[in-house]
């Protein structure tokens, strides 16, 4: 039996960022990864480091996302220095485009409520008209009525991020165990054993970061992670010379030149198939936003599953029954990588979550039925 200081279950962006942070804290962690049968949200996402629309009605989530956005530049610089991999992170601000007056009014009301909820923490945003937007986003079409803007938003190459986290984790002494399922778990406070066939590993700390797999794993450790799949589809065009640097919620140009279009949220269970009607609707809205896109060829398209808590806000928890067991669940593994590596991992290394994490507990779903 191999013994580690901590075991992280899940080799996607959430697990890798936490495992990387644990290794940096001086622990000897193991990171176990299911294999290519996993749903792999980390390899199908859109690549935004996105702040402006996160935490509506949940200001703790807005603060957590902002913290991550602030941590991103140092994480990206550190990964580049240690692994040689450039994650392509940029933080030029970002916009959410509105294609009708009704969309614009609704967005304005939402952003104003976000500002009100932020209180003394602050939330700077601007509602921009077409003239200002055209200077920021060349190629914008006449159908765009306006947009919300914040300086906190950015984007990155999420595949390079995943690669860099894995490489950095191993370089810092972590043990990566691929193609590893959890066949059985021996659970006691500060003593966890995971078995896969004849192989067993153990550690006094365990972190569940298995994405959609957390729903079944969490109860074994006295935790709850009621996450469900939400499908998103993405279209990618051929590479083109740089048109704009600023990402929008649904259209962004990568540093390599391809333009990504991602604009769907579908509740279809574990179905990862693509739907032409959804792809058509996404392409139509993108072309209304940026008419030049009509001349570009789409070279790749795919669907992937988001890891979605019931209220869309992440779930972070520690087990009361089995101390040393933690869980992390969110649909924003790219955006929150900075927080996971630089803030969440140190809490786990210290042995308990900071009180600031209390509102993220799954206890919020345990509301007694009204009589």
């Amino acid at each position: 039996m191999q013994r580690f200081d901590a075991i992280v279950i899940g080799g996607g962006l959430v697990g890798s960022a936490i495992a990387y942070g644990l290794a940096r804290e001086g622990l000897k962690p193991a990171l176990i990864d299911e294999g290519d049968v996993a749903f792999r949200a980390s390899r199908g996402n859109f690549g935004l480091v996105w702040v402006q629309s996160k935490g509506f009605g949940a200001p703790h989530y807005q603060r957590w996302t902002r913290l991550s956005s602030e941590e991103w530049p140092s994480l990206a610089a550190e990964l580049k220095e240690r692994t040689g991999i450039d994650t392509g992170h940029e933080r030029p601000g970002g916009v959410h485009l509105c294609l009708s007056d009704a969309e614009f009014d609704e967005r304005r009301a939402r952003m104003e409520q976000m500002r009100a909820e932020a209180g003394n923490f602050g939330f700077e945003y601007k509602m921009l008209g077409p003239a200002d937007l055209r200077e920021m986003l060349p190629g914008l079409g006449p159908a765009v009525v306006g947009a919300s803007w914040t300086r906190y938003d950015g984007h990155a190459n999420s595949l390079y991020l995943l690669h860099a986290l894995h490489k950095g984790f191993i370089a810092r002494g972590g043990t990566y165990i691929p193609n590893r399922t959890v066949d059985y778990a021996g659970v006691a406070p500060n003593d966890f054993r995971l078995g896969s066939g004849a192989d067993e590993i153990s550690a006094p700390k365990i972190v569940l970061a298995a994405g959609l797999g957390n729903a079944k794993l969490a109860p074994l450790f006295g935790l709850s992670a009621p996450v469900r799949p939400q499908r998103g589809q993405i279209l990618v065009t051929e590479r083109a010379s740089r048109v704009f640097e600023m990402p929008t919620t649904t259209v962004r140009q990568t540093v390599e030149g391809g333009i990504m279009i991602g604009d769907s949220m579908e509740d279809v269970g574990f179905d990862t198939s693509q739907r032409p009607d959804v792809m058509r609707a996404m392409a139509e809205r993108a072309v209304r936003s940026f008419p030049f896109l009509a001349e570009l060829q789409v070279v790749r398209a795919w669907a992937a599953l988001r890891v979605m808590p019931p209220d869309g806000t992440p779930i972070y928890d520690e087990s009361e029954k089995f101390s040393g067991a933690f869980t992390a669940n969110c649909h924003s593994g790219v955006t929150l990588a900075g927080a996971h590596a630089n803030a969440f991992a140190p809490m786990i290394a210290a042995g308990t979550l900071d009180p600031m994490m209390a509102p993220f507990s799954a206890k919020r779903f345990d509301v007694p039925q009204a009589a």
Binding site: P138, G139, E238, R239, A240, S241, V243, Q297
Partner: protein, 99 residues
Amino acid sequence: MFRRRPEAVGPTVTVTVEGTELHVPQGVSAAAAMLLAGLASVRETPVTGAKRSPYCLMGICFDCLAEIDGQPNRQSCMVTVAPGMAIRRQRGKRSVGIE
């Protein structure tokens, strides 16, 4: 680098490769026309500018990208030559038309 098989006969069509006229067998791909023209590489990659040539010749690898009749980033192995077709190297990223 590439030569036509000695027994290959039959009708040909005339295309231009990088502006030079070339007679190629009817029914071959634009990628084959570029190889017959003797181009050592047919494109430069959009990120690093590395030189590339057709590889899989069956529509998978995207290493044969070319500008065909003014349309950039065509998979030249998947395009059959036609009389008068103008075939050019794909040099890095394509541009987009913005007013």
